[in-house]
Amino acid sequence: MVVIMGFSVLVAVLPLLFILGTLIIRGAGSLNLAFFTALPVPAGETGGGGAHAIVGTLMIVGAACLFGLPVGISAGIYCAEYPGTRLARGTRFLADVMNGTPSIVVGVFAWTWIVATQKNFSGFAGSAALAMLMVPMVMRTTEELITLVPHSLREAALALGYSRWRTSLSVVLRTALPGIVTGVLLAVARIAGETAPLLLTALGSQFMSTRLGEPMAALPLVVFTYATGPYEEWHRLAWATALVLIVVVFLLSVAARLATRQRFDRQG
C-alpha cells in the first residue's frame, strides 16, 4: 500500500516538473532584451516582444491593490476586532462565498457594472474585477493572523493606557504584519495570473497603453491570444510570456512562504 501511495506522490509531482520543464525549454530561448523592451509586430513577421503586456499587468495589478488592499485589510481587522457582531459574521460568510466565486463570473459582473455603463473596455474595469477577487483572500489572512496575536499583548497595551485604536494599529497589527504581507503577496500572485476576468474587461491591446481608461494588454491575455492564434511566431512568444508570468508568480509565492517560515522559526 505504501508503495502505491508513494507512486501517487510521484504522479502528483510529475505535472509540475513537466510544466516547468517545457516552459523553460520552449520559453527561455525567446527571452532576450527585445522581449522586455519591444512591442508586438504585425502578425506574420518575426520578432517583437511583450513590453506592453508587462506594463499593462503592472498597472492593472497595481490599481487592483490600490482598491483591494484597504478594503480587504480593514474588513479583516473588523472581523478580528469585533468577531461577534452580525456584520462580522455576515462579512466572513460572504467573503467565503466570494472566494469560491468563479473568476469569470466576477468578470461578467465587472463588465455589466463598468464596461457596459462606460461603453468601453478599460484596464480600470480589469482592476476592479481583480480587486474583487483579492479582497476575500486578503481579508481572511488578515483576520486569521490578528486572531493569532496573543491576548496578553493587547491587554498589556490597554493596561498602559493606550486607546483601543492605537492598540489595534501599533501593537496588534504590527505584530501580525509579516503574516499579512505574506497573505498580500499570495493574493497578488494569484490575481497576476488571472485571465478570465480580464478578457471581459481589459480586453487586451497590441499597443503600449498607460491609460487605465483604455483597453490594456496584460501578460495572461497575451499568453491566451498567442497560444490560440495560428502563427508559429505567436506560439513562441506565448511560451516566453508564460515563462515570465510563472517566474513572477513563483517568486511571489516563494517569497511569501519564506517570510512565514522565518516568522514561525523565530517564535518557536
Binding site: V2, L16, R140, T195
Partner: protein, 336 residues
Amino acid sequence: MTDSATAVADPAAADPAPQAQGPVSALEGRNWGDLAFRGVLTTGALAVPVLMGFLVWELWVGSRLAVDQFGFDFVTASVWDPVAGQFGAVPLIFGTLVSSFLALCIAVPLSLGVAIFLTEFAPTRIRQPIAFVVELLAAIPSVVYGLWGIFVLIPFLRATIFPFLRGLFGFLPFFQGPIYGPSMLSAAVILAIMVMPYIMSVSREVLLAVPPSQREAALALGATRWEAVISAVVPYARSGIIGAVILGLGRALGETMAVTMVIGNRHEIAASLFAPGYTMAAVIANEFTEAATDIHFSALTLVALVLFVVTVLVNAGARILIWRVARGRPEGGRGL
C-alpha cells in the same frame, strides 16, 4: 444607556442631539479616535456584503431578458444559435458536469493517496517539501495550464493514451469515435491536475486534525499502521475529506481558461469522451466580447448566474462538512 440618556435630556428640548451621541460604553468613554477607527473598519467590512449584493443584483437584472424569453426552457433546450436567437444551455451544463466529474475521478484517488502518505507514512523530513511542491501546482496560472495543454498534453494524449483507451475499452460508447485531441477527456485531465492541490491540502489539514488517540487506540488493538489509517483515521475524517472533494468540485466547475483552451468548444452532447464539448465558464469567455445582440448578452449573463448559484451551493456544502471535522481547532489552523 440610551434610556438614561433620554431621562437626563430635558424633555422640553425637542432637539434630539443629546441622544444622537449614541450608546457609548461607559468604560470606553467617548473616545473619538476609537469611533473613527471603528467607522473606517466598518466601511471596509460593509464593502464585502455590498459588493456581493451588487454582483447578484447585476447578474439578476442582466439575465432578465433571457429569463423572460426562454424561462425554464433555457435549461432543457439544447440548441445554441446566437444568429437565430436560440439559446439552450443543456450542452453547456452537461459539459461542465461531465468534465468536472471525470476530473474528480482522476484527482480524488491521487490526492487522497498523497494526503494519507504525507500525514501518516512519509518520513517527517520530506513531508513539508512535497506538500509545498504539490501546492505550487495551485499557484500556476490557469492560462499556463491551457498553453501546456494545447502544445504538450493534447499531442501526448492523442498519440498514446487515447488510442490505448480506445483499444482497451472500445466496446463502450465513451471510448469510441474519431480522436481529435481537444476533447472532454483532455479537459478532464487538465482539470484533475488543477484541482489536485486543493483536495490534497484540505484533506491533509483534515487528517492532521484527527486526534492521535484514534490512531493509538487502533494500534493498541493490534492493527498495522495501514489498518489503523483505514479503520480509524479515515472514517473519523470522512466528512472533512468529502468536504475537500466538494471544494475541488467547486474549483473544477468554475475553471475557465485552461478548459476553454483544450475542450474544443462545440455546442454538442456526445457520448464519446474523445469528442469536443463546451462548459458554462468557457462559453462566457469565448462569446461575451463577441456578442452582438442584447439577448445574447442576457443569455450569457444567465449562464453566469446559474454558474454562480451552483458554485455557491457546492462551496457552502463543502465548508459545512469541513467545519464539522476541523471544529475545535484554533481559528487560524484551517489554512483555507
